[in-house]
């Protein structure tokens, strides 16, 4: 079981966050950057969107644009660390904008007009969403691996059982003993068996 991301883990790290703001200069960007500074984050403001991010980033606040900038931002997000939290700053709620929000995989949305009271709650919940998603993805990959490994072990056991007319337990004992003797994992031994004797 994955433990859910604790409130403390999110709240206690707010001041360590490296935040990128991608939005044209102006009142909205100023208000957002200043509020993030008040919250205590390190903030960098970019416009136009940078081609790539040279420094590590934990959170991206980005405007949603009906222009080539959308592709640039999308590229930036895709190329970046998958654990980066993305928050959209939206002016319109039209279908194209909504699709772009989903395409970017945003973990939170702030609607304009922006006032400073909106920033911290969204930052906190978006951080939690992205941390949680990243954790679950990692866990999922581990489980996929484990299922694949188990299949190989089971196939090796079946082969041994047929070959020696063994019960499942005998096959299991054989694999464990071999693994211990050769100082390898059961999985490695199972894969050796499968390679030595290509299946029928």
């Amino acid at each position: 079981m994955t433990t859910p991301t604790s409130a403390a883990a999110i709240l206690n790290t707010l001041r360590d966050l490296r935040v990128l703001v991608i939005n044209p200069p102006g009142d909205i960007s100023d208000a957002l950057v200043l509020q993030l500074i008040r919250i205590g984050c390190s903030v960098r403001h970019f416009w136009p969107p940078p081609e790539k991010c040279e420094v590590a980033v934990d959170v991206i606040f980005t405007g949603i644009f009906q222009s080539r900038h959308h592709e640039e931002i999308s590229g930036l997000v895709t190329a970046g660390d998958p654990r980066t939290t993305v928050v959209a700053l939206v002016e319109y709620e039209s279908p194209a904008v909504l699709s772009q929000i989903l395409e970017l995989g945003c973990h939170g949305v702030i609607t304009q007009p922006l006032d400073s009271h909106k920033v911290l709650p969204v930052l906190v919940s978006a951080r939690r969403n992205s941390e949680e998603t990243a954790k679950l993805k990692q866990k999922n990959a581990q489980l996929q691996d484990r299922i694949g490994n188990q299949t190989d072990i089971n196939r090796a056991k079946v082969r041994l059982m047929k070959q020696h007319n063994w019960e499942e337990e005998q096959a299991h004992t054989f694999l464990s003993r071999e693994a211990m003797k050769k100082r390898k994992s059961i999985l490695e031994i199972a894969r050796e068996i499968l390679q030595q004797q290509p299946g029928r």
């Binding site: 500074i37 008040r38 919250i39 205590g40």
Partner: protein, 385 residues
Amino acid sequence: MPHHPDRPTLGLLFSATGVTADIERSQRYGALLAIEQANREGGVNGYAIESVSHDPGGDPDRYRLCAEDFIRNQGVKLLVGCYMSHTRKAVMPVIERADALLCYPTPYEGFEYSPNIFYGGPAPNQNSAPLAAYLINHYGERVVFIGSDYIYPRESNHVMRHLYRQHGGSVVEEIYIPLYPSDDEVNHAVERIIKAQADVVFSTVVGTGTAELYRAFARHYSTSARPPIASLTTSEAEVKEMGNDAAEGHVVVAPYFSSIDTPASRAFVDACHDFFPDDVTITAWAEAAYCQTLMLARAMRAAGSWYVEDVRRQLYQLELDAPQGPIRIERQNNHTHLTSRIAEIDARGAFQVKWQSPQPIRPDPYVVVHNLDDWSASMGREERR
């Protein structure tokens, strides 16, 4: 829309009735004293500064209506007032929509910024953090929380709980009583405190419940030594109401106490004695209201105008030699650089300052995790009682 007033006018939003009337009256007279002094200094463009007042009676809806009346009907956009957090929250949207300005001379829980509000009381990094360091250094590790049941106590306790845990202390009981508690509710709370065998009690009870709590506490501990009650809000006004016996030995953190013996403080106390009605007490929050109103007046004078945008620009330039020491507004978050002081109440009901910050503390209203070590170093570790 109403006209811009042809005289410099401030709207005062302090309750003269209701649960926080004592403290808000002291704030209101602090503001009025500042206006009187500013007018003696020559007012603004030769005009005397005027004030309009309402009594919102401690009720958030009435605060909102009063603010609307000042702004919409009278064109007055420079306001001073509010004590409890939910009254400030009620006024905030009205102030922001009209691009008016509210000076809020009260300690609060932090985590707020409005371009239209200037915060004149301490944020948690200016009161809770030093107080926690002091309590842990001077008393034991077992603390009981008691508070009035609204946002400020709950948020203050959140901060305090974190600070205590960080230093191996434990919160053995957390009690909330209504803003208007009955005798039974106060007595029951005190019984729970005694049962918890705390080394120190952290109280965020505000208003008239404060004196009742301290008195009940004194009654229940009549024969044995009682642990100190530490507070962010208990002031000279509440001490006067509860009596010196009930107040003795308790601890308060605030930027100012009327017992401070500096020329600026003595001048303020003398002026208050001349100006305040007999039943109004000098408190830290009266000082805060006085300072903010005086800053508004000086900003109007420097701008030669009482338009919000002119006044706001000037406010950031000011440094005031306040009764507590020098103060100024932090441009980044509209809160105020303030000195922090911790005092113990003596047998005569006077606040004896035990510690003060070496210089004014920069306001930082968005601290989720406070660091006690910042303060412990400047306090030394005395023997625990």
